[in-house]
C-alpha cells in the first residue's frame, strides 16, 4: 500500500519563480490498484510521481510504501520497491549497452552489484522468452545496442525492465507522450497487460483524456498542486472522455473567474 500524508513541495522558495508544486497532498492507494493521474500543465502530477520515486525530498509530510517509511530514503534505495518508466524514451535505458546488458541491470534492481556474472544462461533464456512476449521482433537482437532501437521499442523494454522483478509500485510518467500514435497504442496495450497480469500497484500520469477514461481502476485529477477530483470503482468505470473534458473546462472557467474577480477587485480597491 502506498500512503502519502500531507506531502508538500515548493520549488525555488522565496524567489519570483516560486512554485508550490504539491500542497499537502493526501493519497492512499491500495495494493493492486491501477491509478491514473491527469491534470493541467504544472498541476503537480509529475512532481507527485517524482516525490514518490525520490527524485527529491519533500518539504513536509511523509510517504510510506509496503509498510516501509520511505520519506527519507534516497532514490536508489527506493528503487528496491519501485519500478519506473520515464516520459523520455532515452531516460530509461543505457543507449550504448546491449539489450541483454540493460535487462541484466534490471534483473538485479535493488540488489547489491558484485563481481559475479550477470549474463548467465538461465537469465539469457528468460530474457529471450520475456522479450518475445513484447512482439517487437527483438528476440534475436539481444546483443544489439539499445541506441539502435525506436522510441516505442525502447519504452516497451523500459516497461519490461521496470517490472522484471515485481515492484511494489510501478510509476509511469507520461510514458507514451513522446511516441508516435501507433507506438503509443502498442505501449499502452502492453502496459495494461503487464499491470493486469501481475496485479501491480500502479500510478500512471498521462495527458491523454482517452487513456485516462479507458485505463485503470481509479482516476485522480490534479490542479495547482492539489487533488481536486478522485473517481473510484463504479464511478471511474462510468467516466467518458467528454466528462473529463467538461471537468477540465469547469476548472479552467473557475480559474478565469478567479482571475477576473481578482482583476475587478484590484480595479475597485487599488
Amino acid at each position: 500500500m502506498l500512503e502519502l500524508r500531507a506531502v508538500s513541495k515548493t520549488f525555488n522558495p522565496g524567489t519570483p519563480n516560486e512554485l508550490r508544486a504539491l500542497q499537502a497532498v493526501n493519497l492512499t492507494v491500495d495494493d493492486g490498484l491501477f491509478v491514473v493521474i491527469i491534470g493541467t500543465n504544472g498541476s503537480g502530477k509529475s512532481t507527485l510521481l517524482n516525490a514518490v520515486a525520490g527524485s527529491f525530498f519533500v518539504d513536509s509530510g511523509s510517504i510510506s510504501l509496503a509498510a516501509a517509511e520511505i520519506t527519507n530514503w534516497p532514490e536508489h534505495r527506493r528503487a528496491k520497491l519501485i519500478g519506473r518508466v520515464f516520459q523520455n524514451p532515452f531516460s530509461g535505458t543505457a543507449a550504448n549497452m546491449s539489450i541483454a546488458e540493460n535487462l541484466a541491470l534490471a534483473a538485479y534492481r535493488g540488489k547489491p552489484r558484485r563481481l559475479d556474472w550477470p549474463l548467465r544462461k538461465p537469465l539469457l533464456g528468460e530474457m529471450r522468452e520475456r522479450v518475445s512476449h513484447l512482439n517487437m521482433g527483438l528476440d534475436d537482437r539481444l546483443k544489439n545496442p539499445i541506441g539502435s532501437l525506436s522510441g516505442g521499442q525502447r519504452q516497451a523494454l523500459t516497461l519490461l525492465m521496470a517490472t522484471w522483478l515485481r515492484p511494489e509500485l510501478l510509476l509511469l510518467d507520461e510514458h507514451t507522450a513522446a511516441l508516435d500514435p501507433k507506438s503509443a497504442d502498442q505501449v499502452i496495450a502492453l502496459t495494461d497487460t503487464i499491470v493486469r497480469r501481475h496485479k501491480l500497484t500502479t500510478l500512471m500520469v498521462t495527458h491523454s483524456m482517452h487513456q485516462a477514461a479507458n485505463l485503470g481502476d481509479r482516476l485522480i485529477m490534479m490542479h495547482r498542486g492539489r487533488v481536486i477530483q478522485d473517481f473510484r470503482g463504479a464511478e471511474k468505470k462510468r467516466i467518458r472522455v467528454d466528462d473529463l473534458v467538461a471537468r477540465f473546462e469547469e476548472v479552467r472557467r473557475a480559474e478565469l473567474l478567479d482571475e477576473s474577480a481578482a482583476e475587478m477587485l484590484r480595479r475597485v480597491y487599488i
Binding site: 532514490e75 536508489h76 528503487a79 519506473r84 535505458t93 546488458e101 541491470l105 535493488g110
Partner: protein, 311 residues
C-alpha cells in the same frame, strides 16, 4: 634498436595510464585531471618505499593503493560535496603536489642502488640467457631491455584482460551504465555516486601504478613528472579509438594499449628526428586538440557541401 625497445616498453607501461584515462573520460565521461597528481603520487610512494628497502612488489602495490585513494577523494568531492568534476580533480591534483613533496622529502629521489622490479627482471633475464646481451636478428640488445619489454607486455595483457572481465561483471556493468545514463541507474537501485567514486579510484589506481613502474624504469621519481599525464593518456585513447573504433569495451581496451604504444613510438621518432623535447607537451596538446575537433569539422564540411553546390 634500444630506442625502439625503450619506446615499446614505455608504451606498454603508459598503457596503464591510457586505461585509467579511458575509465574516467570514456566510461564515466568525467574530465578527471587528478591523474597529473596521482601518477606522481604512485611514483613517489614506490620510490620512497624502495629506498627504505621495502619489497618492490609491495612498493609498487602501495603506489596503486595511493592513486586509488586519491581517485576516491576526487570522486567524493564531485559527488558527496557536489563540486564540479573538473574542479574536484584540480583540487586533489594541487593538494597531491605537496603530499608528494612530503612523501619524498625533496623534489626527486633516485632508486638506483635499491632493489626494484627492474633489478629483479635484470637478474631473471641474465639467469635465463646466461649472458648480459642478446643477439636478435643481428642487433645487440641487453637482456635487461628484453626482459623489461617482455615483462611489461605480459603485465599489460594481464591488466587488460582483468579490466575486460571486470567490466562484464555485475559491478562493472553497473559502472558502465552509470556513465551512460545516471537517471536509469538510480531508478534500478544503483548508487551512482558510489559507482563514480569507485570508478575514479580504479582509474587513478591504474595511473599511479603506471607512475610506480615508470619510477623504477627510469630510476627516479620526480614531483614534476605528472605534468601532462592526462593529455598523454587522452592522446593514446584517441589514437586507439581511431584504430579500432569505440563499439565494444574489449576493443576499446585493446585500442587504448595500442594507442599508447603507437603514441610512444611516434614520440620516439619525433625526438629522433630532432623535435625539441621542450616542445613535446605542446605538440601533444595540439595533437589532442586536432583529434577532438577534426570529426566535428568534417561533419560540418559534409553538411555544408550540398548547400554550396546549389549556391
Amino acid at each position: 634498436m634500444s630506442l625502439l625497445l625503450g619506446a615499446l616498453t614505455l608504451g606498454f607501461i603508459f598503457s596503464l595510464l591510457a586505461l585509467g584515462v579511458f575509465i574516467s573520460f570514456r566510461i564515466f565521461a568525467f574530465p578527471d585531471i587528478t591523474a597529473d597528481g596521482s601518477s606522481a603520487l604512485g611514483a613517489a610512494l614506490a620510490a620512497m618505499l624502495l629506498v627504505h628497502h621495502v619489497n618492490p612488489v609491495l612498493a609498487t602495490f602501495a603506489g596503486f593503493a595511493g592513486g586509488f585513494l586519491a581517485g576516491t577523494l576526487t570522486g567524493m568531492l564531485a559527488t558527496k560535496f557536489k563540486i564540479n568534476g573538473l574542479l574536484a580533480g584540480i583540487l586533489v591534483m594541487t593538494g597531491l603536489y605537496s603530499v608528494n613533496l612530503h612523501i619524498m622529502g625533496r623534489s626527486n629521489i633516485s632508486v638506483l642502488g635499491s632493489s626494484t622490479l627492474s633489478t629483479y627482471l635484470d637478474r631473471v633475464g641474465t639467469a635465463l640467457t646466461r649472458h648480459n646481451t642478446l643477439n636478435v636478428m643481428g642487433w645487440e640488445i641487453t637482456s635487461l631491455e628484453a626482459s623489461l619489454l617482455i615483462a611489461s607486455f605480459l603485465f599489460i595483457v594481464l591488466a587488460g584482460c582483468l579490466m575486460y572481465v571486470f567490466f562484464q561483471t555485475n559491478l562493472g556493468t553497473a559502472m558502465r551504465a552509470t556513465g551512460d545514463n545516471h537517471e536509469m541507474v538510480r531508478a534500478l537501485g544503483i548508487n551512482n555516486e558510489n559507482m563514480i567514486i569507485l570508478g575514479l579510484g580504479l582509474s587513478n589506481g591504474l595511473i599511479a601504478l603506471a607512475g610506480a613502474f615508470i619510477a623504477q624504469y627510469q630510476g627516479f621519481a620526480d614531483v614534476q613528472m605528472g605534468i601532462g599525464m592526462v593529455v598523454w593518456g587522452l592522446a593514446s585513447v584517441i589514437i586507439g579509438e581511431a584504430l579500432v573504433g569505440t563499439k565494444q569495451i574489449g576493443l576499446s581496451i585493446t585500442g587504448a594499449v595500442m594507442g599508447s604504444v603507437l603514441f610512444r613510438l611516434l614520440v620516439a621518432m619525433a625526438l629522433r628526428l630532432g623535435l625539441n623535447p621542450n616542445d613535446l607537451k605542446l605538440v601533444t596538446a595540439l595533437f589532442v586538440f586536432a583529434a577532438l575537433v577534426t570529426p566535428e569539422l568534417l561533419n560540418r564540411f559534409k553538411t555544408l557541401k550540398p548547400r554550396s553546390f546549389h549556391a
